[in-house]
């Protein structure tokens, strides 16, 4: 074995093994880039009411707008350019998904480590709460939370965090318990390191890999959940639609032949979730020793 590679090099190596996973990885990077750069790439800001014109609504793909640019993928029922709406919607979906996952991961990590370290009644209590949380399907928890709290980006992110943190807590606790029994921890204790330091500098790096795998798939799950909630009418406010809401708006037009209002956002959502799952799959396969 040569000298330890840099993390980025290792990451790319993981994906280089499988053509499809590599394509998925680069597609994901492209999606992220496009989402971040959306304001620069799109002819219209679909969330700015002053830029919309109802007289341009429901135009087929390829039609020209009053302002001169082309609606490459058509326009929706409020006159939003589909390309712009999809990119901005992607932005929301990705940011909501990633933000909630990161926050849930942080919280779950903290709680899981505390539970593993503390042991005893605290550990049992925390795990009971985690089990309770996990025994309820995510959609139910999210639905009730949003029905209570109302609409808004912040409320959705909170709902998604509440739904997800328990997963991470359980994974972290399980892995941390295993790690804490290993010899290097005993060695560190003998060497006189404090328990917090042991946790942070020795246990944490070993706990992270399975966590990252879970997190990747969870981002996809969070995005799908947000889309479902928006579809049911409990998600983002209507003037800043995310992909789920765009699909919902377009649903009523499917039967009359105006497929583009629902179809293209659907494809975008699908693509995003699939590539994230593919990337997560590859990460998991790479980190699973048994299947090597």
């Amino acid at each position: 074995m040569s000298v330890v590679n840099s993390p980025t090099r290792e990451l790319i190596d993981v994906f280089a093994r499988d053509r499809i996973a590599l394509i998925a990885f680069w597609t994901l990077c492209a999606l992220l880039l496009v989402a971040v750069a959306a304001p620069l790439l799109t002819p219209q800001n679909p969330y700015d009411l002053a830029q919309l014109d109802i007289l341009d609504s429901k135009l087929a793909p390829g039609a020209k707008s009053a302002a001169g640019y082309t609606y490459w993928l058509g326009s929706d029922d409020q006159g939003r350019d589909m390309v712009s709406a999809i990119l901005y919607g992607l932005r929301i979906s990705l940011s909501v998904g990633i933000a909630s996952t990161l926050a849930a991961l942080g919280i779950g990590l903290l709680i899981g480590l505390i539970a593993a370290r503390a042991g005893g009644w605290l550990d049992a209590l925390i795990m009971r709460i985690v089990d309770l949380q996990l025994s309820f399907p995510s959609i139910l928890v999210a639905l009730v939370l949003l029905a209570l709290a109302g609409q808004g980006v912040d409320k959705i992110i909170i709902a998604l965090i509440v739904v997800q943190w328990a997963y991470y807590a359980r994974t972290v606790r399980g892995t941390a318990l295993v790690e804490l029994r290993k010899e290097y921890v005993d060695a560190a204790v003998c060497a006189g390191y404090g328990s917090t330091r042991i946790l942070l500098r020795h246990v944490l790096p070993n706990v992270l890999p399975p966590l990252i795998v879970v997190a990747t798939v969870q981002v996809a799950h969070a995005i799908a959940l947000e889309a479902t909630l928006s579809f049911l009418g409990l998600g983002m406010p209507i003037t800043s639609p995310s992909l789920g809401l765009l699909i919902a708006n377009g649903y009523v037009h499917l039967l009359s032949g105006k497929y583009w209002i629902s179809f293209f956002p659907g494809i975008a959502l699908l693509l995003t979730i699939v590539v994230i799952n593919l990337v997560g799959d590859q990460l998991r396969d790479a980190l699973n020793p048994q299947l090597k």
């Binding site: 959609i139 939370l145 209570l148 479902t228 499917l254 959502l269 699908l270 979730i273 799952n277």
Partner: protein, 322 residues
């Protein structure tokens, strides 16, 4: 002892949920408004609020609720003036029928397909099954539902678009799958609901099969001269089925919850659709009753599966005995 402990935990969980749910639901909006007659005036509005007890402090309302709940009365629906629990029980058979149909599809298709993918992971059959499962896993349920309706009902006209077919009473419970028309109405929603779990089961079975095939007992069976189909069908299958069926059992609760989306799209008259409607009209007793009933079901299912798993898996039994 273990069983008693789990039951105790379940009771606590139920209680906690009821407090959370009640407090939350009763704090929003004013349900009188949506249901009030357009011709009503302030006096009647005030009277109605008083009659439904909506002006009392929250904790008082909860106390009334709890005491009546323990005697089986979960309140009366604002909109229908029928006991909330009755409304839910009325719609439960439809949801359960859908959920069970979906589970059956997922299990009957998922396990064999996953087995196949696990036995031949690098063949085109194996790879396409895996690709399909990733798609099935990723596609949001509501989108699949819309596409299914578009393709099978509107374009091809093979299957009805919405609703439940005619029902027949079996032991007092109305079921619709016993008639051809009823089955036709059941197929699309059940397939829609099943897709996610199907993909999950395929992946699980595949992973389990691949792991099992590497085990020693398989090598020994082959060395003994056992024919390949028997190796798979008798030895491998038996050992991977326990965890898979356990997962399937636990997922049943999740399927019942996800039925909310499917029921909304296919206008299937089940509990999930009732929940969405109740949220829209702020019919609080029904929302609370639904949540409590579902929570109760999940807890029971989890309890049952846990107990079953403990009984079946000798390793677990030995561990807890130590």
């Amino acid at each position: 002892m273990f069983v008693l402990r789990r039951i105790g935990q379940s009771a606590v969980a139920l209680f906690v949920m009821s407090v959370l749910v009640f407090a939350g639901v009763y704090a929003i909006g004013n349900p009188v408004d949506i249901l009030i007659s357009p011709q009503a005036d302030q006096a009647e509005i005030a009277q109605t609020i008083a009659r439904l007890g909506l002006d009392r402090p929250l904790w008082e309302q909860y106390w009334v609720f709890l005491s009546s709940a323990l005697s089986g009365d979960l309140g009366k629906s604002f909109a229908a003036s029928a006991p909330a629990i009755d409304l839910i029980l009325e719609r439960m058979p439809a949801t359960l029928e859908l959920a069970f149909a979906a589970m059956v599809i997922a299990i009957v298709l998922g396990i064999p397909l996953g087995l196949l993918a696990g036995l031949k992971p690098d063949s085109w059959v194996g790879r396409s099954i895996m690709a399909g499962s990733i798609l099935g896993f990723s596609l949001p349920t509501f989108w699949v539902g819309l596409m299914l309706i578009m393709v099978f009902s509107v374009q091809l006209g093979w299957l009805p678009t919405t609703g439940r077919g005619p029902t027949v009473d079996v032991l007092g419970i109305p079921v619709s799958f016993l008639s051809w028309d009823g089955l036709r109405h059941l197929i699309l929603p059940a397939a829609n609901l099943a897709l996610f779990k199907l993909s999950l089961l395929i992946r699980l079975t595949r992973a389990g099969t691949r792991e099992a095939m590497l085990q020693d007992y398989v090598r020994f069976a082959r060395a003994k001269g056992v024919a390949e189909p028997n190796v798979v069908g008798v030895h491998v299958l038996r050992n991977i089925l326990i965890p898979i069926i356990t997962v399937a059992g636990l997922e049943l609760g999740s399927v019942i919850a996800f039925a909310i989306v499917t029921e909304t799209i296919f206008a299937w008259p089940g509990m999930g659709k009732l929940l969405i409607e109740s949220i829209n009209v702020l019919d609080r007793p029904v929302i609370v009753a639904y949540l409590l009933v579902t929570v109760f079901m999940f807890i029971m299912i989890n309890l049952l599966v846990d107990v079953l798993y403990t009984a079946l898996d000798p390793r677990v039994r030995l561990k807890s005995a130590r």
